[in-house]
């Protein structure tokens, strides 16, 4: 019994079917009938519309309920994982700040004259090594390291290491602990530290609604506020034309009520903001277009977080509609990358951001400092090279301010 048909060299059915394939597609020419009839006033309609209606069993899709469109105002929400594409200049325009490349004289003098005992410095040096290499946490690294520069798609097996979050946490807590050890009970009694606090600060500037929902990994509060600094200069806020102040901040078009929230009650003794310590990690803070974050963009994050803390504090003290502050609010900002540390002071002088002239806010900064050059296992031994003693010194100056 033959299960298959005999294959002919010329298959009549296939030939007929191929002919039908081309003959079944007809280009319908316009005979001019429709135009001639419509000239006489006779409307011509497509019969297909009516045949579909005559079919009793044709499926009719129920009409979808169209909700009336309400145009909510656009809100720009800046969160922990966002980064401004134009860096410090954009942050300056958004918050109406001037940048000073040196700290106020009072702090610079303190830094120059401060001498720390060797045992505390040695302890801090050791704790950097411990937090980067000798800690017990071993989790697979999220980063893929290529085998060689010319082979970018071949990766080494992922190593087990301490997570960046833990490294930053250990460094920041150890810095504070060593400051407390050095200054003793007198200073420590006046301060309180809180971990993982959230600040919410809204601004409405030139028609744009911006909400800052930011968190500080360590927040140091004190009994007394930091004395405001004088900053007089001929500088003006830069012009970022043709870009707008809110470029690269994600926006939402749904309903959003701007909220302000300061995590500590104003009635508390320890409600004055003193220092915030921020963590940065390549994995957490990314651009939407997936390119590397530059130092300028890294610094802009510190400026905005300092601004958010100060603004939420001002709102909690003086209300949401405050424009001119009775007393400026100064906040010390320390941003850690594991190796790179950014020290800065944000001083909020005004919340009247719409006008270009008048009082402006200040951002005092130091050029970026590196904790060390290398902190790795070399030949099986932990190695920490070129440890920077100035960082702990700067931290002490900040702590005692």
């Amino acid at each position: 019994m033959r299960l298959t048909n005999i294959l002919f060299k010329q298959h009549n059915v296939w030939r007929a079917k191929l002919k039908w394939k081309y003959q079944s597609q007809r280009n319908v020419l316009d005979t001019g009938l429709v135009a001639a009839l419509e000239k006489k006033g006779i409307t011509v309609k497509d019969a297909v519309e009516y045949t579909n209606k005559m079919n009793k069993f044709a499926k009719t899709n129920p009409e979808k309920k169209v909700e009336p469109e309400i145009n909510h105002p656009i809100t720009y929400i800046y969160g922990d994982s966002n980064c401004l594409v134009y860096g410090c200049s954009q942050a300056q325009v958004l918050t109406k700040t001037l940048i000073f490349d040196k700290f106020p004289e009072k702090l610079e003098k303190k830094f120059a004259s401060l001498k720390l005992p060797t045992d505390i410095e040695r302890s801090m040096h050791q704790s950097v090594l411990v937090s980067h290499l000798l800690d017990a946490e071993q989790i697979k690294s999220p980063y893929k390291i290529p085998i060689a520069p010319h082979k970018p798609r071949h990766f080494l097996p992922k190593e087990y290491c301490i997570t960046e979050r833990r490294k930053n946490l250990l460094i920041s807590t150890r810095l504070l602990n060593h400051c407390e050890r050095f200054y003793g009970h007198i200073e420590a009694v006046n301060k309180k530290t809180v971990n993982d606090v959230k600040f919410m600060a809204p601004i409405e500037k030139n028609g744009d609604r911006v909400q800052f929902n930011l968190s500080a990994e360590t927040f140091v509060t004190s009994k007394k506020p930091i004395a405001p600094f004088d900053g007089s200069s001929d500088q003006s806020v830069p012009d970022i034309y043709p870009l707008d102040q809110t470029v690269s901040i994600p926006k939402i078009e749904t309903k959003y009520d701007l909220t302000s929230s300061y995590p500590i009650k104003t009635t508390s003794i320890f409600s004055h903001p003193h220092t915030i310590m921020l963590h940065y990690s390549k994995n957490d803070v990314k651009h939407l277009f997936e390119e590397e974050v530059t130092h300028d963009q890294f610094e802009s994050r510190a400026i905005l977080k300092g601004f958010a803390v100060a603004t939420s504090r001002a709102h909690s003290l003086y209300g949401l509609d405050v424009k001119i502050l009775q007393q400026p609010i100064a906040i010390q900002v320390v941003q850690l990358d594991g190796r790179k540390i950014q020290f800065g002071i944000f001083q909020l002088n005004t919340l009247d951001l719409d006008s270009k002239d008048g009082v402006k806010n200040f951002w005092f900064r130091k050029p970026d400092m590196f904790l060390y050059d290398e902190c790795i296992y070399k030949d099986g031994r932990p190695l920490l090279s070129n440890y920077n003693f100035d960082i702990f010194k700067m931290m002490c100056v900040f702590y005692s301010n």
Binding site: M1, R2, L3, T4, N5, H11, V13, W14, A16, K17, L18, W20, K21, S24, Q25, R26, N27, V28, V85, Y86, R153, Y241, P242, L243, D244, T246, V247, S248, L288, F289, E290, E291
Partner: protein
């Protein structure tokens, strides 16, 4: 093997054999795959369509600068699933940067200014990509040869009486640019979403103008006469060395998504070797005159009285 048993043949596989007189000496069984099944495969290269990848554009259709995921097609047509373009397959999956080819600008008044923020590489194309910001918007465009971060580029749709002295990266209508200008990313006709000249290091030259048309010399040495309102970007595309860099190994060839090709060279077939012939005459491009109506497709399937469908073998 799957079988399709035609209605007029005996059903050998039923439990109760019908007591029918013998109609024919053989059973007319046909394998489904032996039935003629003609599939319309598209010709590769038509309408500049590529069969390397399908990009997963966002569902809401809104433009985004987020690099998009894609799936490899390996030379297959996504509609029919058949291989249409040979030699494509595998390779590194690069993310796709959605480029805004349409350079929108004001039709009167001063040109719109945009700032170039960063130049990046895109694995899905040979030319480099520039991240550009204007107002509240960030977008990607094709980067030109000497473009760098911080540059300001202009766009305008106004055609002045005296041609504009344009800089690299600026976008103006063809009628506004002087003869001899080097351009790329040229619109086929105003309002069309199709643009010419995108590859690394290529450019077109404006040769002459007549009536309301501008003649340009394309990289393939053909002359196209386009309407003067078509937008074009001034300059030569980036990554000029691309055509001069050889592919050093088979490994790299496969990483780029190309499958092995046969090295067969036939001496007398007439296929290999340089061809020297006169270029075709100047082509006038413009909007289609009438909207193309799709052809009417006739069928000869009919519904039987019993309620099933009878499929005529023709």
């Amino acid at each position: 093997m799957s079988f399709k048993i035609l209605r007029h043949s005996l059903n050998l596989f039923s439990k109760q054999l019908p007591a029918l007189p013998v109609i024919s000496n053989h059973i007319n069984l046909q394998l489904v795959r032996a039935l003629p099944h003609f599939v319309d495969k598209p010709t590769p290269g038509k309408d500049h369509k590529q069969y390397r990848r399908t990009v997963h554009f966002p569902e809401d259709g809104n433009y985004t600068i987020k690099p998009l995921d894609n799936t490899h097609l390996a030379g297959r047509d996504p509609v029919t699933g058949r291989v249409v373009a040979k030699g494509i397959g595998g390779g590194i999956k690069f993310k796709y940067h959605w480029i805004k080819y349409n350079r929108d600008g004001p039709e009167e008044g001063p040109p719109q200014e945009e700032r170039v923020l960063q130049i990046l590489k895109c694995g899905c194309r040979t030319a480099d990509v520039a991240l550009v910001g204007v107002g509240k918007e960030l977008k990607y465009i094709l980067a030109t040869e000497n473009m760098k971060a911080g540059d300001i580029i202009k766009t305008s749709k106004f055609i002045p009486r005296i041609p504009v002295r344009a800089n690299e990266g600026d976008a103006y209508p063809l009628g506004a640019l002087p003869v001899g200008t080097i351009v790329h990313n040229i619109e086929k006709y105003p309002g069309c979403n199709k643009h010419f000249v995108h590859a690394a290091g290529v450019f077109a030259t404006i040769l002459r103008k007549f009536d309301d048309r501008v003649v340009i010399l394309m990289p393939n040495k053909r002359e196209y006469a386009l309407l003067e309102k078509c937008m074009a970007t001034v300059g030569r595309l980036s990554n000029v060395e691309h055509s001069r860099t050889p592919i050093p190994s088979v490994h790299r060839w496969r990483e780029l998504g190309n499958r092995p090709r046969s090295g067969l060279w036939q001496r007398k077939s007439g296929r290999h070797g340089r061809k020297i012939k006169k270029p075709p005459p100047m082509k006038l491009h413009g909007p289609p005159k009438q909207p193309e109506k799709p052809p009417l497709k006739l069928t000869i399937n009919r519904v039987s009285k019993g309620g099933g469908t009878y499929i005529n073998p023709l």
